[in-house]
Amino acid sequence: MNHGNQKSQGAALCPRLRFGLALAGVLILGGCQRRSPRAGVSTITVWEPFGGSSRRQLQAIVTTFQKTHPLIHVRLSYATNNLTSSQKLFLAIAGGVPPNVTFVDGQQMAEWAARGALTDITPEVKKAGITGHDFWLPRWRESVFAGHVYALPWGADPNFALAWNKTLFREAGLPPNQPPRTVKQLDYDMKKLTDIRPSGRIVRLGLIPWEWGNANSMFNWAYAFGGNFYQLPAPGRLIGRVTVNAPENIHGLTWMASWARRLGISRVAGFQSNFVGTASSPFFMGRVAMTLLHIQQYFNMKKDAPTLDYGLAYIPAGPHGHYPTAWLGGFSLAIPRGRKPKPAAFTFIRWMCTSRAATMAAGKNMGQFPAFRYSPYYKSIRHNKDLMVYYHIVSRTTHARSLMPVQGYLMELLDRACDQVFYEHHTPRQALDEANAKAKARLVEVMRGVARRLKAQAKGGLPHE
């Protein structure tokens, strides 16, 4: 009797159980389902490195794109990019599921292209009638590797303008409207402006020559002294000339080291650690009289230090350097390797990098100088004296960081070389000789891999490391 009851209960439960399982399945599968766009619409995924308010501005630009391109749906996704590494993207490429488009920092371009992480877009670029003359030269050079185009330049960061605090110049007895134009004059001004108490406490500094980190500062001052890091290979060749230990670079490092010794490298590091966040820059707070001001910092300064009496000029030049001197950085847009590129991806890249609407919006809303030299944004800033300083940097400079396809490693080597000199373990020549030898060895190793890959691709096989 009992058995019969249990059986009937079990039989009654079974449909409920089945229904429950079916419902759970529907909900789970429904949750996994992606929002499918309308028929005929091509969806592309774009990985961007900004986040925050810049992401909102970028989304607004993308929305404008979608209004004019109703058959392309753009899905923006954040992916960190700390200049030397981008693990998420690497894993996606290795796993064969990369985004359709990604932002790539200019200095990563040659290295990523050499290692086969990016798709060659030369045919599309040619077909679209885009040439190097459409962009600021250093940014275009960063997009080309071994004669092939791997990205279109999007932004052009003018690195850097020299900003000086006129009030502090007056206090130190220096002419407030006369910024230094040469390193000699800069030395004089820095000595007058620096105030370190006998106890060792820093009251005020003239300038911190390594304020942008060792490696970036090495680029600043090596270029200021007329130096260079890499000469591109002749046509038909893969490996160029590594010139990390060029005499001008040694002079630049020697000059930085002289100030590291005079100010005390550890003391300055302690002083710098007092200022955290964009709003509390020691320059904005009158604790440093001169700074190499990035364009984004300029906009921050206008917002966070509205009463600061400042002037803007160019980085002073060393004995063999040219005045003004600077270099360009900035992001490009590329198609990662790993799956068949969608035509919509190049359409998007082209619109972002060369259209009047996108480049204007990037400049106006994101404070991002466009790499596209014919952008109407540049006309719109004609009457802004400060921004014209940055415009002159962008339009005149011929430098980027090095175009060596081991740029990430070079940054590490330069960082180490500066430390060895600042902490007085090596002379500038010793440190840069060592960096030069290591960079050269790694370059040869990487380019051997490139040659093997090109050979394998010519045979139609899969590339080996």
Partner: protein, 308 residues
């Protein structure tokens, strides 16, 4: 003498039904087994294979034999990172155990508000490591940091004030000091072990005239020695893998004085794209940890007492 064991009928049925149920058991274990094979065994095996190859993630690996291991032996940065990590581990692990034990002994006393004190000392353990790094960056600030302000307040001359994270001499001691702050985890374990020590042992020792120090040395420490061994091994494994502090606070500087093994491993993988070389580094780290653990376990017979 061959006696046939007569299995009762019911028992036989039970055994046979148990044997027949193994596929069901396996089915229940399958998600775990698949996860273990796919996400642990396979990556471990592949990293061993990659350690014997030149591999940069973007292309197929190329066989290199033992060259990565040979190159590591001649790489000064590798040895520097080994030295930095060993320095950190040698000081941070015993100091952490010592601080945790002292706190546990104090918090084992029966005084008013003990629950509050225990919570306070355990609190740093639950603070995320990144938040701790931000906090300690401020505490260790050479000019305005809490520690140096205190040193100035007690009259230490400016020349003797440490530069902490901005000095290549003081950077490792600074991170060791910071590691002691997180000794609350060990403290809780010691506290539990201390409360497990039978009171009659202390009473007997007191009757024999043993003072506090003797009781600690001859009763407390032997009785909690298994816990000390466990925290020592776990602390050593954690110290060898130290990464976050150096990554966030110093980036390996100043002048590579905090370039720890894991940080060098990360840099080699993701700024130099040398995944084969990195895998070799990871395997060497595994061998170091394994050797040290086995060594400590072997030695533990001499100083660990399992009273149960």
């Amino acid at each position: 003498m061959n006696e046939k064991v007569d299995i009762p009928r019911a028992g036989r049925r039970f055994r046979s039904s148990r044997e027949n149920r193994w596929p069901v058991g396996l089915a229940f274990c399958l998600p775990l087994l698949v996860g273990l094979l796919a996400f642990t065994a396979y990556p471990v095996g592949m990293s061993l294979y990659y350690s014997l190859c030149h591999y940069s993630i973007f292309s197929r690996p190329r066989w290199a034999g033992l060259r990565n291991y040979q190159n590591l032996m001649h790489d000064p940065r590798f040895w520097l990172s080994v030295w930095n990590t060993a320095y950190y581990a040698i000081f941070a692990v015993p100091l952490g155990i010592f601080a945790g034990l002292i706190l546990a002994l104090l918090l084992n006393l029966k005084i008013k508000g003990m629950a509050f004190f225990r919570t306070m000392f355990f609190l740093p353990t639950v603070v995320p490591l990144v938040a701790s790094c931000v906090l300690w960056n401020q505490i260790l600030n050479p000019q305005q940091g809490l520690i140096n302000e205190f040193l100035r307040f007690i009259g230490l001359p400016e020349g003797f004030i440490p530069g902490w994270l901005t000095s290549e001499v003081w950077s490792k001691p600074a991170l060791i000091l910071m590691s002691v702050w997180g000794c609350g985890g060990g403290m809780v374990l010691y506290l539990a072990a201390l409360q497990d020590v039978p009171m009659e042992l202390y009473e007997a020792a007191s009757l024999d005239g043993a003072r506090a120090w003797r009781r600690l040395w001859h009763i407390t420490l032997p009785m909690i020695s298994p816990v000390l061994l466990f925290t020592g091994i776990m602390g050593m494994i954690g110290a060898v893998q130290v990464f976050t502090q150096a990554f966030i606070m110093t980036s390996g500087g100043p002048n590579q004085s905090t370039l720890f093994y894991s940080l060098e491993l990360f840099n080699t993988a993701f700024t130099q794209y040398r995944l084969g070389y990195t895998s070799a580094m990871a395997w060497i780290m595994f061998v170091i940890i394994l050797t040290a653990t086995v060594g400590v376990m072997k030695l533990s017979n001499r100083f660990v007492y399992y009273h149960s």
